[in-house]
C-alpha cells in the first residue's frame, strides 16, 4: 500500500523564527509547494530583527564567528541529500566548500584589508575594517543555493547582519532557514525572505536602517531603481552583472562588506 508523503510547509526565517507573511499571501514554488510572499511589513520586521542582532554579533570575536560559520558548513553537509532534492549535488557541494572557505575570513579580514599607516609624525595610526550594519542581498534566480550563500555569508562572517531575498525561480531554498537555525547563528543575524523583487525593491532601497545592498542578476531598470532609492541615505550598493558565483571574487565580496575606521593616537612620553 502506498503511503502519502508529508509536505513541509515552507516558511520564511526572520528573527530566528519560521514565519508566514503577515499579509497571508503565498506564491507557488516548485511541485506542490508554496512559499510566503513577503510584504513591506515583513521586510521591516526582518530589518528590525537584523538591527537587534547587530551589535552583539559585531562584537563577537572573529574566532567565534568563524566557528559558527564553519558550523553552518557542517549542517549543510548533514543535509546534502535534502538540499540535493532542491538543486544538484554539485551545487550543494560547491556551496558547502564556499562556506568553509568564507568561514576563515572572520579573523583574517582585518589583517588582509587593514593595517598600520606610516604617517609622517609621532602618531600610532591604524585602519581597522569592521562590520557595516544591516545588509540586504538580492540573490540570483540561478544558482539559487550557491548564489544565496555566496551573498549572505561574506557580510555575516565579517560581523554584519543580513536580510536575503531569495531566488524567485527556486524559492523553496528558503528551507535553508533550518540550516541557519541549527548552526548557532544568533537569531536575527540572518533573515530569509521569499517574494517579489518588483514589489519589495523600492522598500529595500529606501529603508533607512539598511546600510548596504548587494544585488545579482537584476536588469538595468531594477539596478537604477535600487541605486536611486539607495541614494536617499547613501547606502553602499553593489550590483554584479553576472549571476555566476564562481566569477565573483571572494576577496571583493569580503572587502565590500567592510567599513574602514582609521584611528590616530599621539605617541610620546
Amino acid at each position: 500500500m502506498s503511503r502519502e508523503a508529508i509536505d513541509k510547509t515552507l516558511k520564511m526565517f526572520v528573527g530566528g523564527a519560521f514565519v508566514r507573511s503577515e499579509s497571508g499571501r503565498t506564491l507557488l514554488a516548485s511541485g506542490r509547494s508554496r512559499v510566503p510572499a513577503a510584504s513591506r511589513k515583513d521586510l521591516r520586521a526582518a530589518v528590525e530583527a537584523a538591527e537587534h542582532a547587530g551589535p552583539k554579533w559585531a562584537c563577537a570575536t572573529g574566532y567565534l564567528r568563524g566557528q559558527i560559520v564553519y558550523r553552518l558548513a557542517e549542517m549543510l553537509e548533514d543535509r546534502r541529500a535534502s538540499l540535493e532534492a532542491l538543486t544538484s549535488l554539485a551545487e550543494v557541494d560547491a556551496a558547502i566548500d564556499l562556506v568553509v572557505s568564507l568561514a576563515g575570513w572572520s579573523d583574517k579580514a582585518s589583517q588582509v584589508f587593514g593595517g598600520a599607516n606610516p604617517v609622517a609624525g609621532p602618531y600610532h595610526n591604524f585602519t581597522i575594517p569592521g562590520p557595516s550594519g544591516v545588509h540586504a542581498v538580492v540573490c540570483p534566480d540561478h544558482p539559487a543555493l550557491l548564489g544565496a550563500l555566496g551573498l549572505i555569508v561574506p557580510p555575516l562572517v565579517t560581523g554584519s547582519t543580513v536580510i536575503a531575498l531569495l531566488s524567485r525561480a527556486s524559492p523553496e531554498i528558503v528551507a535553508l532557514g533550518e540550516v541557519f537555525a541549527t548552526s548557532d547563528v544568533p537569531a536575527g543575524a540572518v533573515n530569509l525572505l521569499t517574494g517579489d523583487l518588483e514589489e519589495l525593491a523600492s522598500h529595500i532601497a529606501s529603508h533607512r536602517s539598511i546600510r548596504s545592498v548587494v544585488a545579482v542578476g537584476v536588469d538595468q531598470a531594477m539596478r537604477t531603481k535600487l541605486e536611486r532609492g539607495a541614494a536617499e541615505n547613501l547606502k553602499r550598493v553593489v550590483v554584479f552583472e553576472t549571476p555566476q558565483p564562481e566569477s565573483w571574487p571572494a576577496a571583493d565580496l569580503i572587502e565590500r562588506a567592510l567599513e574602514f575606521k582609521t584611528i590616530w593616537h599621539p605617541s610620546s612620553v
Binding site: 593595517g115 547613501l234 590616530w264 599621539p266
Partner: protein
C-alpha cells in the same frame, strides 16, 4: 598654538593673558611672497589654457578684502565635453605607460609643488581666506606629500591588491570643495593618476586659483597632455561633468545634500562613485582627560580653517563633572585666537570663505540664539571689509536643536554634557553622519573601547584634525563612501578582476 593657558585661579597675568586682554598688540607680520597671477584664466584642457565655449567668465575674489583676484572661465557642458574628450584621448597612452614612468611624473609634480610651495600657500590664502599659517604648514605640504606618496604606489598596485588584478577605471570626473582647494585637488588627482586613470577636475567656484596654478605647474614640468584637465565653474559645470556619458568614475567632496543628488544621478549608469561628504563630528572629553590638551584639541577641532572642515569637531560632549572647568578654559583660549588679515603670520582665524557661507553661518547663529542655548562669542575687533565670524559656542545645547544636528561649516561649537561613557557613545552616534570623532581620556582601555564603539571613519584619540597622505580618510553612513589617502585610497580608482592563479 600650543601655549597653555594659565590655571583658572591665577591672579598674575601671564603673557598669553596679557595679549588676550589686549594690553599689547602683535606687530603685523605680513607674508612677503606674492604669486604672479594672470588677470584672466581659461580652462586647462589637453595641456593648454582655452577659453570657455561661450566666453563666459566669473570673478574670484579675496574674502578678506572683497577685491577681485582674477577672472576665470565659467565651464559649460561643451567645455566639459571637450575636457572629457581630451582625457579619453590621453587614457590609452597614460594607462599603458610603464608604471615606474607614471610614478616618475608624479614624483616630479610633488617636487615642483614643494619648490613653489610658498607661492601656492599665499595664493591659497588670498583666494580662500584661510590663515597663511595653515596654508603654509598644512594645505600645501600635505598636497605635495599626497603626490609623493601615491607616486610610489604606481608600480606597486599588484602588492596593494594581492590575488586580484587592479585595472584603471578610465576617465575620472572629480569635483572638489572650497575649504582645502589645492589639498583636495591632490587627494583626488594623485591616486587616480597613480592607478593609470585620466582626470577632469572641477574646482570650487569660490577657490579656483590654486588649481589653475597647478595647471601652470603641469605645463612647466611637461606633464603628459590631456591626463589632467581642469574646468572651472559653478554647480552647473559640476552637474555637466556628473552627467557626461563618457565619464567612468565620479569622485565628489562636498555637502551630503549634493552628494545624494549625485548618487541619484549616476544610479543605473554603471559609473563608479566615491563620496566624501558632510559631518557633525562628536568630540568627547572624559573627566580623566588631560584638560589643557583637550582644550587645545577642541580649538583645533572646530576653529581650524574657520570651521570650514567636513570633519570639524562641532559637537563637544564634556563629562558633567568637568564641564565648568573645560568651558572656562575653552573661552579663555578662544579669547586668545587672533582674527584678521589671513596673510599675517600671527593670524589664527581668517576670513569666512564667501558672503554666502557667512550668511549660512549667521542663520545658524540666529537659530541657536532663538533656541535659548547659552551663546558666547570671543570678543575682539572685526576688519571692516571682508567676511568674518568670531569663534562662537553655544552651551547647554539640546540634542534636538538644529545647531546640534546640522552641519554649519563655520566656527560654531555646540557644547553638551554627559554622565556615563555609554551615554556619550549613544549621543555621539545619534546622527546620520559618521565622518570623524574625537576622544579625550588618559585611560588606555577606555579610549580604545570608545573608539571601537563610535560610528566614524576617522577617530582621533587625544588629538584632532590630523591628516596624512598615508592615512585613509572617509566616512560611515551619510558622510559618504570610499576612502582617500593610504592604500585604501587606491581602491576607488581601480576595477578588480580575480588574478589568474
Amino acid at each position: 598654538m600650543t601655549t597653555a593657558p594659565p590655571p583658572p585661579s591665577a591672579t598674575v597675568l601671564g603673557p598669553a593673558q596679557i595679549w588676550a586682554e589686549g594690553l599689547f598688540e602683535y606687530a603685523a607680520a605680513p607674508e612677503g611672497v606674492r604669486p604672479t597671477l594672470r588677470d584672466c584664466y581659461g580652462h586647462f584642457i589637453g595641456g593648454a589654457f582655452v577659453e570657455a565655449s561661450d566666453r563666459g567668465t566669473f570673478e574670484t575674489i579675496s574674502p578678506a578684502t572683497e577685491e577681485v583676484i582674477a577672472h576665470v572661465a565659467r565651464g559649460t557642458a561643451a567645455d566639459i565635453d571637450r575636457a572629457v574628450t581630451a582625457a579619453r584621448g590621453a587614457l590609452p597612452a597614460w594607462s599603458s605607460l610603464p608604471a615606474i614612468e607614471r610614478g616618475k611624473h608624479l614624483y616630479r609634480l610633488a617636487r615642483r609643488i614643494q619648490e613653489r610651495s610658498r607661492e601656492l600657500a599665499v595664493a591659497e590664502t588670498i583666494d580662500g581666506g584661510k590663515p597663511i599659517r595653515e596654508s603654509r604648514d598644512v594645505d600645501v605640504p600635505l598636497a605635495a606629500q599626497h603626490f609623493f606618496y601615491y607616486a610610489g604606489w604606481a608600480d606597486k598596485l599588484a602588492y596593494a591588491f594581492p590575488g586580484r588584478r587592479a585595472e584603471p577605471v578610465g576617465v575620472c570626473g572629480q569635483i572638489i570643495p572650497w575649504n582645502f582647494p589645492l589639498l583636495m585637488a591632490a587627494w583626488k588627482l594623485a591616486p587616480a593618476l597613480a592607478c593609470g586613470n585620466t582626470c577632469v577636475l572641477k574646482p570650487a567656484e569660490t577657490t579656483p586659483i590654486t588649481a589653475l596654478l597647478l595647471a601652470d605647474i603641469l605645463t612647466e614640468i611637461e606633464f603628459p597632455k590631456g591626463v589632467v584637465n581642469i574646468v572651472t565653474g559653478d554647480g552647473a559645470t559640476g552637474s555637466a561633468l556628473v552627467e557626461h556619458p563618457d565619464v567612468n568614475k565620479i569622485a565628489f567632496t562636498g555637502s551630503t545634500e549634493v552628494g545624494k543628488r549625485i548618487a541619484s544621478t549616476v544610479a543605473g549608469t554603471g559609473k563608479k562613485l566615491t563620496l566624501e561628504l558632510g559631518g557633525k563630528s562628536p568630540n568627547i572629553v572624559f573627566e580623566d582627560a588631560s584638560i589643557d590638551q583637550a582644550v587645545e584639541g577642541i580649538v583645533q577641532g572646530i576653529y581650524f580653517n574657520q570651521g570650514h572642515v567636513c570633519c570639524a569637531g562641532s559637537r563637544l560632549f564634556v563629562q558633567e563633572s568637568i564641564a565648568d572647568d573645560v568651558t572656562a578654559r575653552l573661552k579663555r583660549r578662544m579669547g586668545q585666537l587672533r582674527m584678521g588679515d589671513p596673510l599675517d603670520k600671527n593670524t589664527d582665524i581668517g576670513a569666512i570663505n564667501s558672503a554666502q557661507q557667512l550668511a549660512t553661518i549667521e542663520r545658524y547663529l540666529d537659530a541657536g540664539q532663538q533656541s535659548g542655548s547659552g551663546f558666547w562669542q570671543a570678543e575682539g575687533s572685526t576688519p571692516e571689509r571682508g567676511y568674518w565670524c568670531r569663534p562662537s559656542l553655544f552651551e547647554g545645547v539640546q540634542p534636538s536643536e538644529v545647531i546640534a544636528r546640522e552641519e554649519i561649516f563655520g566656527p560654531v561649537l555646540a557644547v553638551m554634557t554627559f554622565r556615563t561613557p555609554a551615554e556619550a557613545i549613544q549621543r555621539a552616534n545619534n546622527t546620520a553622519y559618521g565622518l570623524a570623532a574625537g576622544v579625550w581620556t588618559d585611560k588606555g582601555s577606555k579610549i580604545f573601547e570608545v573608539a571601537r564603539s563610535l560610528d566614524a571613519g576617522v577617530v582621533w584619540l587625544n588629538t584632532y584634525n590630523k591628516f596624512d597622505a598615508a592615512s585613509p580618510f572617509g566616512g560611515f553612513k551619510e558622510s559618504g563612501f570610499g576612502r582617500e589617502g593610504g592604500l585604501h585610497g587606491l581602491r576607488g580608482y581601480v576595477n578588480m578582476a580575480e588574478a589568474p592563479r
